[in-house]
Amino acid sequence: MSSTPATRPQSRLLAGIRLYRILLSASVRARMQYKLDFVASATIQAVTGLYDYFVIAVILWKFDTVHGWDIYEIGLLYAVSRVGWGLYRIFCDEIERFENYIVRGDFDSVLIRPWPSLFVLLSRNIDLTRLGWLVQGAGVGAVSARALLRAGVLSWAGVGHLVVACVSTGCLFLAVGMATASAAFKIVRIEELQVFTENASSTATLYPLDIYPGWLRKMLLWVIPLGAGNYVPVRHLLGKGGTWVNLALPPVAAALSLCLATHLWHLGESRYHSTGS
């Protein structure tokens, strides 16, 4: 049987990209209907989100360094993590809010679409109010990188690696988010689980992992590998140890984590049964 143009893999991919673009632009237009709300939400998120950096700044103002890392060096850890988190929340917010789909039974409507459920979810919404996190992270990163470039601790090539690390961290957040969302197929409520896998873990990676006990370091590098996105490359870029492998690790960890998370997603999806309302 010959395949029709719409079912050819290449045509389907192009159609998917086109659909993704259309749906995202519709989402942006919808969000921009409430411009004032958008500006207020983005600004307040950026300001209130600075709490973690405020804690870091106050501690370093008082004690100079955390395990030999100064404010600019920790600023890079913070920036990579926050930009990654911002990217994830802007483009993948429906994954973060997946619990609602299961609780309300809305996932049924996702399944009847002629596209994979993950694609449908990811193309549903682009939440620009989360830009605040991205801008805030990028701002802290720019100030820190500038100071470290001037001090000769960081090179321009290193800045390029930081950009790769930011994107990789965004993918790692997506992988962790997908794996956590997959648990909703089984346990339904995942909000509390997200506090553990995302909030606690991302807060931990704002500081050098050397300060933690071995079990926590291993967890942040191998189980919930958010530390592989920021700590591993930044450590090498600042000359605090490691090899070029540290720079290659973030994209590799992101790719492997996404594969594993996709597998978990399909596993959960195959066992999904509706609320039956």
Binding site: I59, K62, L193, I211
Partner: protein, 264 residues
């Protein structure tokens, strides 16, 4: 009633039980997450505080400080839903019925929140404290300290509920309370001293925080518990309780008038 009739109640009761078991599991996960937050801050402070300490705080005292705060934050910071309930009631119009009840609206919200916060302390806070006791947990030697700490926490919870009650009441004018909520939550954490003693803050932020209502949520109770300060720290909590109660009653009165003007 036939056995068949009773069976449906049995099934419903079983489902309710299983549903609660699911929530218990998710609460357990959250408890682990809270303990992880505690571990993060304990190790962070241990890595920066010199062994000679700063002010009243040695690395061990900082461990006690974080362990205590992670326990009591489930009573004085987390789990308050007053703002969400008021917002939803305003949006749905149910608030008109609620204001008609022969109970003071503010006291009604306060009482219902205390119940859930006691649950938070017993089923979330205490397990977190138990986990963090592996790293160190201070128990006061003076029995009076236990009593002063409980009083301080009860007043701290009252102040925290009133903060979010006021945030919720803004729904009468704006319907969207997210911004106010974020600001208050951030101030609760930052100026409350949840993850750092206020002495770390630079001046004049320290003085501002020290006498703000936010310090009554975690910082003051922790200092009383650790026997670093005496019961005199109850006084600012009492003052803020009175001030915020008057403010809440005034705002409630204004909201009631606004609702009547709109014909709700």
């Amino acid at each position: 009633m036939s056995l068949r009739g009773l069976r449906k109640y049995w099934v419903l009761a079983s489902k309710g039980f299983i549903q609660n078991l699911q929530y218990s599991a998710s609460h357990l996960i959250n408890t682990v997450a809270s303990a992880i937050f505690g571990v993060i801050y304990i190790y962070l402070w241990r890595s920066v505080v010199p062994s000679s300490g700063f002010g009243d705080y040695t690395p061990l005292v900082m461990t006690y400080y974080i362990s205590f705060n992670q326990t009591t934050m489930w009573f004085t910071q987390f789990g308050i839903r007053a703002h969400v309930k008021i917002r939803d009631a305003v949006r749905s119009g149910d608030v008109a019925t609620e204001l008609l009840r022969p109970v003071d609206f503010f006291s009604y919200r306060m009482a219902s929140e205390y119940g859930s916060m006691v649950y938070g302390l017993i089923f979330r806070g205490f397990p977190v404290g138990l986990m963090l006791s592996l790293f160190g947990y201070y128990l006061p030697r003076n029995p009076a300290t236990w009593g002063w700490t409980v009083l301080s926490l009860v007043l701290g919870a009252y102040i925290a509920i009133t903060h979010l009650y006021l945030a919720g009441m803004t729904a009468f004018w704006t319907t969207e309370i997210r911004t106010v909520y974020w600001v208050i939550s951030t101030l609760n954490l930052t100026l409350g001293g949840a993850s750092m003693p206020l002495e770390v803050l630079p001046q004049p932020m320290y003085t501002l925080a020290r006498w703000s209502p936010f310090a009554c949520l975690t910082f003051n109770p922790a200092r009383i518990w650790l026997e670093l300060s005496g019961p005199e720290l109850i006084i600012p909590a009492v003052v803020w309780t009175v001030v915020l109660t008057l403010l809440a009653q005034w705002v409630t009165g204004m909201a009631r008038r606004k609702l009547e003007v709109q014909g709700g």
